[in-house]
Amino acid sequence: MRTPVSVKLVAGLGPRGWLAVAAVFVAAWVLVPLAHLMLPESHPLHISTYAITLIGKILCYAVVAVAMDLIWGFGGILSLGHGLFFALGGYSFGMYLMRQIGRDGSYGADIPDFMVFLDWKELPWYWSGTDSFLWCLLLAVAVPGAIAWIFGYFAFRSRIKGVYFSIITQAMTYAAMLFFFRNETGFGGNNGFTDFKRILGYSITAPETRVVLFGLSVTLLLGTLILGKALIASKFGRVLTAIRDAENRVMFIGYNPLHYKLFIWTVSAMLCGLAGALYVPQVGIINPSEMSVANSIEIAIWVAVGGRGTLVGPIFGAGIVNLSKTWFTTSFPEYWLFFLGLLFILVTLYLPEGVAGLWAKIKARRAEKAALAAARAEAAAVPAAPRTPAAPDSKIPNGTAAKGA
């Protein structure tokens, strides 16, 4: 069976859809910069640096959430180690930013500060070429992709799935975190990379740079959505959802699930890598705790809260959870973990389709009521006419299938 990879980018979005996309684009690239750069601070619509970095960060998380939805919501693969790919992308781009500090560090040396106090005389081999923006951007996509491909190839080939797979992704990110915490590994150890100065010659703290990074984050998110939609709407997507629901039967029909799972797994990892690369300059620090198990599990909850298998739901999920985190840790720090824990429990127990599912249910119920009212009105107006059939069958929602995962 040939491997279908037909990414028809233009298919799937109607003209109104494209109009909406354009609107968001304009908002991100024109309105937000204006609100941040032009308006004075006291103006009610002014967007502060704090706000723009916070939203930019959440947008990067949203990309990761969508990437996770692709593999979990549509592929049935729960990864508890996706934070690793995000962090690897961040580290790859971080290497570029560290090189851009140049001689402005505390020691005025050609190599980053942490290498100076480790007594290293020159850059190790894996840092070569990192003063090139394009190379590091390529690394940010290629390194997570390569690691994901190798790991996924061996895992899916042995048909490891379900809980076992989740656990070994957890082991993978834990081992990587331990590895990066070592100072000898050459990635800054516990401190990680920080104190960035420049990106492509522009100061990293300049408002214009922030605005551009923000715009790029929005663009990445839009691109991810479009890519995701195209993948899912294609034949590839149909086979993938079939694998999620009944892998054995798909195999019996003649498809090899390895290719499909491996493809979506690698694409998802690469998207996370890109998100990580955009995250680091906005937040200003990357450190091995991004690879912690807790971080990766939190990605899963963003998708669960937002709604698996909807592509858009996870964006809400990421936004809701992260904004709650910011609010809670300011106002009620002792209760943040209670809230998060209860969120995990309640969402999995009572809201398996997440917020998007809830929204869909409400809409469906309203449509049902409207149709019922219309039918009754019709029946009342024409009492002798034979009874019209009941409300239309609209209860099978798109995309969300049986609870196979």
Binding site: L80, F154, I160, S166, I167, A171, F181, A304, G341, T348
Partner: protein, 534 residues
């Protein structure tokens, strides 16, 4: 050097007969002063004086019982306060005496002086203790040689004599007579102590062009002796490493056994498993607090009481989790992972609010402190020995439960084939709850064990989750043997790698190994045989 001569003369003097005299006032002033040199001189003077008063004051110094009260130096002996100069009780007892402080080197000096004093004492136990103390730290041997000679002549006891022989040999190493040195080296070659090896090493070293040891025969004998000691040390080194591996393995076993049972029965990986360990550890803490306040005489046995308490509390928490959350997610293992992770967060924060974010103090009871010295360089700590024995005991009980009781039979049935077991009448829902309770209870027991060797704090469980999972994944499900072999194997391998490459690399290598192993044999080491799809 000077102080050793003084000690020497005092010891001989003591053998000749005790002289009673009050402790000199300059000595008392020296002890009470802040200056280190003055204190050192005062201790040396006490050693020289050698009489019973000096001995008493030295003993009090060693016990940290000497204090300054007003202008007098006093010894605080329980309720009584004695005058340091002559030992007479002071009435009325002076108020709030300010204890004087010794530092490590002063304490060493005091202990050395006491040991030399007691070597010739009438009491056998005192002589034995003094000999052992001198063995541990002899200081300048050459000056003490006459003392050892004299003590050996007098010594009849079979326990103390070999120690004195060794002391004499060690002291003879610096003797000017080559024959004596040779004999000393040959005696010392019988030892298996790294400290003795350290004494012999300088003999074969070079200083510039010349050897430190002029006599060739002595040098050769030293080399042979060192090789012999090394050979003996290698075995005890390896035994030590194996023991540390088994010790780690026994802890992993306690942590992972419960998880293996619940995963086998329900196919559920409980991410809150680490928190059940924490519940067990906090139960031990609570028992300790209870015993300290209610039964202070039996406080050393709080661990014994903590075992059943921890089991039942953890089992209760586990069964509650199963009833309220996990049961409703039956058939959705991935969601169960997430929900149990949420439970773990709630449990951690609850522990923080109840007990504080700080770690809490859980002390080893006296019978679990210290260690047993099997060889000079092999000392097995008691707490770890007890934990190894305890995990063996728990394993035995669980094996009996699984294989000899009806409940165990049901559990095995549900693990092997749930639908069929249900069909023949096994109450699967109840078995689920009970198995979960048992698994959680075992984790609670693991927590009690952990409280004796690691920190007890709200997030102590997080460090053991990944390890427990690895044991379950490696060992396979359905048979206890899998968990046992996996836990012990991982423990020993981790420790050996650690000695070779450091803690972090060892852990990473072990994790990578497991990831690769799982590709080759996804069902683990000991898998249930039989046909079943997925």
């Amino acid at each position: 050097m000077k102080r050793l001569l003084l000690i020497l003369s005092l010891a001989i003097g003591l053998g000749a007969g005790a002289v009673r005299a009050d402790v000199a006032p300059e000595v008392l002033k020296g002890l009470a002063s802040e200056d280190f040199d003055a204190k050192q001189g005062a201790v040396a003077a006490l050693a020289e004086a050698g009489d019973a008063d000096a001995a008493r004051l030295l003993k009090a110094l060693s016990d940290d019982a000497v204090a300054v009260a007003g202008d007098k130096l006093v010894i605080v002996a329980g309720e009584q306060v004695l005058d340091a100069a002559n030992g007479k009780q002071l009435k009325p007892a002076p108020a709030s005496p300010d204890s004087i402080s010794l530092n490590n080197s002063l304490r060493q000096q005091v202990d050395g002086a006491l040991a030399a004093l007691r070597l010739l004492s009438i009491d056998k136990a005192e002589r034995l203790a003094a000999a052992k103390a001198l063995l541990a730290d002899m200081g300048d041997g050459a000056a003490l040689l006459p003392l050892f000679d004299k003590a050996l002549k007098q010594e009849q006891d079979g326990d103390i004599k070999p120690i004195l022989v060794q002391l004499q040999a060690q002291a003879s190493l610096a003797s000017p007579d080559a024959a004596l040195r040779l004999q000393a080296v040959q005696t010392l070659g019988q030892s298996s102590s790294p400290a003795v090896k350290a004494l012999l090493l300088p003999l074969i070293e070079k200083q510039g062009d010349t050897f430190a040891e002029p006599d060739e025969k002595v040098r050769l004998a030293a080399q042979t002796a060192i090789k012999a000691i090394d050979g003996r040390l290698v075995w005890s080194d390896m035994a030590g490493q194996v023991f540390t591996g088994i010790s780690l393995g026994s802890i992993l076993l306690l942590a992972a056994l419960g998880l293996a049972i619940t995963y086998g029965v329900m196919g559920v990986i409980n991410m809150a498993h680490g928190e059940l360990l924490m519940v067990g550890a906090y139960s031990a803490y609570a028992m300790q607090a209870l015993f300290r306040s209610r039964f202070p005489d039996f406080v050393d046995y709080y661990v014994v009481a903590a075992v059943p308490v921890a089991f039942f509390v953890a089992a209760a928490v586990g069964m509650l989790m199963e009833r309220t959350v996990i049961r409703h997610l039956y058939g959705r293992p991935l969601e169960t992972l997430l929900a149990t992770w949420g439970l773990s967060l709630v449990l951690i924060q609850a522990a923080r609010l109840l007990f504080g974010a700080q770690n809490v103090e859980v002390a080893n009871p006296a019978w679990m402190s210290g260690g047993v010295q099997l060889a000079e360089n092999l000392s097995l700590p008691w707490n770890r020995l007890v934990i190894v024995a305890f995990s063996g005991f728990v394993l035995l009980v669980v094996w009996l439960l699984m294989n000899k009781t009806r409940l165990g039979m049901f559990v095995r049935a549900v693990t092997q084939n749930r639908p069929m077991a249900g069909c023949v009448g096994v109450p699967t829902a109840r078995i689920d709850t009970l198995a979960f309770g048992i698994g959680s209870g075992i984790a609670g027991l693991g927590g009690v064990a952990l409280s004796q060797i690691a920190n007890v704090g709200p997030d102590m469980g997080q460090g053991y989750i990944v390890d427990s999972f690895m044991v379950v994944v490696l060992g396979g499900v359905g048979q206890l043997a899998g968990a046992v072999w996996a836990a012990l194997g991982l423990g020993v391998v981790t420790k050996f790698l650690e000695g070779w490459a450091g803690a972090v690399i060892a852990k990473i290598l072990v994790l990578v190994f497991i990831i690769i192993f799982i590709q080759k044999r996804p069902q683990g080491l000991f898998a249930l045989k039989g046909r079943f799809v997925d």
